[in-house]
Symmetry: C2
Subunit: 326 residues, 2 copies
């Protein structure tokens, strides 16, 4: 392994000059710099990040924690965050909590010492715990509102209201909402927005939940929405599971029941029927979160916190239609 000292020796300068060539180029004479660079390139020198981290206290790594990598909602966010970070010379650790708050906390704690900041996506932890962790490591939260912390929110309430309007407009009067896991901010937002809007429209809304945020969750919920003509689901997976369950029970979608998903995460939107759903700006959220996190890292302990709210919108496809008269 070739170190800074090898480069220094080979180019006849002191190690500090080599160091500055890479980390503070403006402090070294252009000619010297070029010479050092040439030698370094020839020797195949690459700065050792661990050593650099030791003195600077900056690892140039970020942590990214999601509930479930295999949930199709997250990969686009991960992808965007990772790519964006890389452009800024940061690498990202990705970890999966399996929807387990205990594991989530543990992960943040072990990660906190070897990253400059952590991106928490849809955390299930209590606000109190999150605040405590914030003292250990810069944090940016995605899809959860935590007072005093920097957060990136996807305004799912906006989409949920549009979804209710859409259903009411189609003549549905027996609408159900399948909520997500307890502790999910998104689920709370949806519930709040949907309930309010339904009330405004004078239409009852049956809230059913909590449900697992998976097809299993949707499948299991099929029994619980009997008598309803339209269902808004916590996410697309749940919607697919629900449709599966309804079909098993001899009901057709959208013929007998209209179904709306949330997050538009399914590849190709090629399901039959194509799902009416609410699109979420996941990639944008990932990039934005990285930017905010790096800003927080740069600003140190008492950086001002921000809340960014990104828009969502209803995409009408084939899983909803006009209510049949009873």
């Amino acid at each position: 392994m070739v170190t800074i000292r090898d480069v220094a020796r080979a180019s006849g300068v002191h190690v500090s000059t080599v160091s500055r060539t890479f980390s503070a180029p403006h402090l070294v004479n252009e000619k010297t710099r070029q010479a050092v660079l040439a030698v370094a390139a020839q020797l195949g020198y690459r700065p050792n990040r661990a050593a650099r981290a030791l003195t600077t206290g900056r690892t140039h790594n970020l942590g990214l924690i999601v509930a479930d990598i295999a949930n199709p909602f997250f990969p686009p966010l991960i992808k965007a965050a990772q790519g964006h970070a890389r452009e800024r010379d940061y690498h990202v650790f990705v970890a999966d909590t399996d929807e387990d708050p205990v594991l989530e906390q543990e992960l943040i704690e072990t990660l906190s010492k070897q990253v400059d900041g952590v991106l928490l996506c849809s955390p299930r932890l209590s606000n109190q715990t999150i605040h405590r962790l914030r003292a250990e490591v810069p944090l940016v939260i995605v899809n959860r509102r935590v007072k005093g912390l920097t957060t990136v929110l996807m305004d799912v309430g906006q989409g949920a209201r549009a979804a209710i309007d859409h259903l009411v407009g189609l003549g549905h009067r027996r609408i159900a909402l399948l909520t997500g896991p307890p502790g999910s901010w998104t689920s709370g937002e949806i519930r709040q927005a949907a309930t309010d809007r339904a009330a405004e429209a004078g239409v009852p809304l049956t809230v059913v939940g909590p449900n697992e945020p998976t097809e299993q969750g949707g499948l299991a919920a099929a029994d619980k929405i009997a008598g309803h003509s339209a269902v808004l689901c916590y996410n697309d997976l749940v919607a697919l599971g629900l449709i599966e369950g309804l079909v098993e029970r001899g009901l057709s979608v959208p013929g007998d029941v209209s179904v709306i998903g949330i997050d538009d995460s399914l590849p190709g939107r090629l399901n039959r029927p194509k799902l009416t759903t609410i699109t979420m700006p996941t990639a944008a959220a990932g990039r934005m979160a990285v930017d905010l996190l790096l800003a927080a890292v740069g600003a140190g302990e008492h950086a001002p916190h921000t809340t960014v709210r990104l828009e969502t919108s209803l995409v009408i496809r084939e899983s909803t239609q006009r209510a049949s008269e009873p």
Copy 2:
């Protein structure tokens, strides 16, 4: 930040004793060890991995490189690898190459200095380049056969043969194969196995490709398979795209054309029609690859290389049916 020296001071022993308490417990007296541990816990001490990496040369990090995080084939592998690594006290960097070999090489090179080993999934690089990289960092390859390197293969040929048998058994005589991107080992394997088996059965096989490994790729291929009654696709996304394209052209699946996907990566298998496909042991491959990589890391430079071949199998669902008589 509390360091080893703080712990040493607070517990009245030398730093080296504290160090050994954590990294070589058998060398320190049980009573001392307990005392140090107690103090460390009380102070909230956590070993600094960067510092440890500096002296030991082990970062306890792994790199995981995939073509596209958002391709649903990869997340289960990533999830399994990450979880498995974590249980072994390793963290994993996940990076995405966007199917770009240049970026892939660059990523491996920048990552190589800060990880103990790299997991390469379905690399698009040349064997020669891969060998050169192997000299810099331990490598385990998933889904690509590289002579002299440790590889984990999913035996997709086995599944492809079963797929051809299935189609031929259903009476299909005009079968097409949509291949994947150039440089994909999997695509080559499928092609080889499918071609051989079709020849054995005395049925012609039209090979169409390369295609992008996405729905777009499948969609675009819909024009190129006119006159065929059955199509085996490089992956499920391509199959979905193809089905979409066929439907747009007024053809039904499986009524007019039978379609088989590969990888069984779609959530919930809830598409209409449900896709007949070849299941891939992605999670098992991820875990296996981590095991092999850690073994290679432990064994040093000249570790023996292994090839592990995992089974795949055909899952028959609804997108294939008996050929209609012409």
